[in-house]
Symmetry: C2
Subunit: 455 residues, 2 copies
């Protein structure tokens, strides 16, 4: 029996094991889930050994551990593939908006609902099952495999780049493979060739040194919430264009060729509005929705708080107000430089009586990979085998900063072989994965490994 | 022994009883304190009976109860004084900023620290002790007394005006007396002749129907937090002038005479900055700080929230964002009309893809009383007796909507005989009261009752 056939016959095992994986609430952001994150790492290591990897280990970092595995039986002449994924997940809050419990995976038709089902446990697990299919049949994969599965992606991978730099020899490979992105539809596979970077900051503004009664001091004391809203409103105009001075200086312009190709991507505005749960699109009018979503920088306030936020009324003029802001960056913006620009600008526009502190919480580079490399040709053929159609090339709005790290530290390019769908509700309530995509994903991954040695 | 002398000799009893009163966490806003509010009402009724009132009762309302007491022994020819106060207090949050526990009254020199020490338990209790001083000596006060002590002032007195309308005969009086304001300094008594009104709304803006991943949808979906900050920034300009269309239409202009008198009020900018815990003042440059604080309308965002507000990062594009906004109004602004104006304006400026809902949580009229009435002359003389100096006339920035209700329903004016200080930290951590002011307050209240029959 061929590996592809084995995988087809063992889809139920895939589902059962994935459900076990998804039951572990490995939320890396929340301290109360620290043990769950460690448990997920141990679970994953055990599964890698069962899937045939001769070596798998949980490697400590200053934060959550990294699961490393290798299977080098293909020999020194065969190419080596470095598979990256992350076993940590986003917080599930707000819990009241989930229709089923986030850590009790629930089947509804072909969809499996759970936090992490698509981002990224489900997609990561495709590669464990692909390797196992070789193990149970031909005995070994036709390429050398190294796995690098981290537990800190959702907190910005603070220890990943140092780990890669310190273990560059261990991780040496010919190409990296990541399944942490989405395709265009169940029958429209796509390969991502560009990712956005990220700069995430937290802003604290301070007015009076302590909370005051707004009836006694309002009108003569600058209220930090009022001031914060005025300051934030100056970061972007109504059309979504970011107005931080210098912000666009390094933005690599979209080429006419790229814009033309993007215009030919399948895109149904009505369907997209439905997936986005909105009645209208919004944003920079000079760019199409696809361009805004993947090839333009953005600025989103991800959280804001200050003053009295409980039921009822309280006439407080608070001492402080806060906001969390993420900016998605495009090549060739520098995250550290953007953090400095927004810090300088907010400081400059802080009105009298208001002080501002900006904490740079997370940064990551965007990336763009070649669409004409041998590995990319193998990936295109593999998708054709898995899905029966030629994949599109597309840019991705999200961030996978490790792609830039692989380029810079290991000198290798990455194949972004995604199996998610645009409506998987990533980072939102009711995250799900479309199971047929994962099953076809295993076929695609198997075919990629089979094709890679000969391209 | 005269009542004044009796009160002087029993200041320790005043302090001990007030501390007992302050230990009851009668926070009307918070449901978990419902029993404490009821307990405070019962405690107050018992103390009124002990102080000599022949009749005191706890009267139910749809919300927290009203404590009513009367002592009509002065006879039908003597004037009747209706004393109003409130026995509920603001929430104590944020608890971590209190230097001593908010409901364990703590003495530091002449100051007593506790939630409600100044607003309004301490000031209310002045009148209980003044009545008791007559009871223990001459036997009865020289005026008829009615007490109306409510437990919902800090939630906007939703049941007070209906109660007054339903019990207009019971509450009939010649003048109302309220101690719920501050004087200018320990040796600078003042009588408030104008109060601001209030309009308090809660704003909910909705973008997408559910939370989204900002990396997947940011840039093409209008983020409700971004939108809310832009909308709020349009309510007021940088100098504090409110820019809601129609907002100023009914504002009664300050007369030149009033402005001249306000300019002569004792005011030390440096001292005020210290009390406000700020390094600079702010606000409408065409008006002095005193005018901005008491005679101009204001707009303060008292709370704002939306998205992810826990430690760490989450790249959520939330479905909703919220703000609580209070506007202080001046005569002759109409609170209901202002609520409609801000609702209409926010609805009009809501950008595409953003819906807005405005809940009108609380409203109250401002008020202005005569400075030349007989009762006011008695109050001036009483302060002179209590403090040894003539009180100033001033306007107050806070709101006591019952003053307008007394005018409209009972046809009587109110004497605002305050004993607080500007730095009492009302509605803020570390609320306190300056005890000598309360002791002089009892003297002033006694003298007012003695003088009133003859003016």
């Amino acid at each position: 029996m061929k590996p592809a056939e084995y995988a087809r016959q063992h889809q139920d095992d895939f589902l059962a094991e994935l459900q076990e994986f998804l039951r572990i609430p490995s939320v890396s952001t929340q301290a109360e889930h620290r043990d769950d994150v460690a448990h997920a790492a141990d679970w994953l290591k055990a599964r890698l050994l069962e899937a045939g990897f001769p070596h798998a280990e949980v490697m400590a970092t200053p934060g959550h551990p990294i699961v490393y595995a290798e299977w080098l039986a293909a020999g020194p002449d065969a190419p080596t593939v470095l598979i990256y994924g992350h076993y940590d997940v986003q917080p599930a809050e707000p819990l009241e908006l989930w229709k089923t419990p986030p850590f009790e995976p629930t089947l509804a038709g072909d969809d499996l609902f759970a936090r992490g089902a698509s981002d990224d446990k489900g997609q990561l697990y495709v590669h464990v099952k692909a390797a196992e299919a070789f193990h149970k049949n031909s005995g070994r994969p036709p390429v050398n495999l190294k796995c690098l599965f981290e537990g800190e992606e959702e907190i910005g991978s603070p220890n990943l780049a140092p780990f890669i730099r310190q273990n560059a020899a261990l991780l040496a490979a010919d190409v990296a493979l990541i399944s942490d992105s989405h395709i265009l539809g169940p029958d429209a596979p796509a390969i991502v060739y560009a990712l956005r970077g990220m700069c995430y900051v937290q802003v604290e503004v301070t007015g009076p040194a302590q909370d005051l009664h707004s009836g006694s001091y309002g009108g003569a004391v600058n209220n930090p919430i009022n001031a914060l809203t005025r300051m934030l409103a100056q970061l972007q105009n109504e059309s979504g264009e970011i107005t931080i001075p210098g912000f666009h200086d390094r933005v690599r312009p979209l080429t006419e060729d790229e814009r033309a190709k993007m215009a030919r991507l399948p895109f149904e505005r009505e369907q997209w509005l439905k997936e986005a749960h909105v009645t209208t699109d919004w944003g920079e009018q000079a760019y199409t929705i696809i361009e805004r979503l993947s090839a333009r920088p953005t600025l989103d306030i991800n959280g804001i708080w200050g003053g009295y936020t409980e039921p009822g009324v309280k006439t407080v003029l608070p001492s402080k107000a806060y906001a969390k802001i993420s900016m998605r960056l495009v090549p060739d913006q520098e995250p550290d430089e953007i953090a400095q620009l927004i810090t300088d600008y907010l400081t400059a526009i802080a009105p009298p009586g208001i002080s501002v502190k900006v904490d740079y919480l997370q940064g990551g580079y965007g990336a763009m990979v070649r669409r004409d490399s041998p590995a990319m040709r193998a990936a295109v053929s593999a998708y054709e085998a898995g899905y029966g159609v030629t994949p599109f090339f597309m840019r991705e709005g999200g961030s996978i900063p490790v792609v830039a790290t692989f380029q810079k530290v290991l000198g290798i390019e990455t194949i972004l072989m995604g199996f998610g769908l645009p409506d998987d509700n990533l980072h939102a309530p009711n995250e799900k994965v479309h199971l047929p995509n994962l099953y076809q994903g295993v076929q695609t991954a198997i075919r990629f490994m089979e094709l890679l040695p000969s391209v």
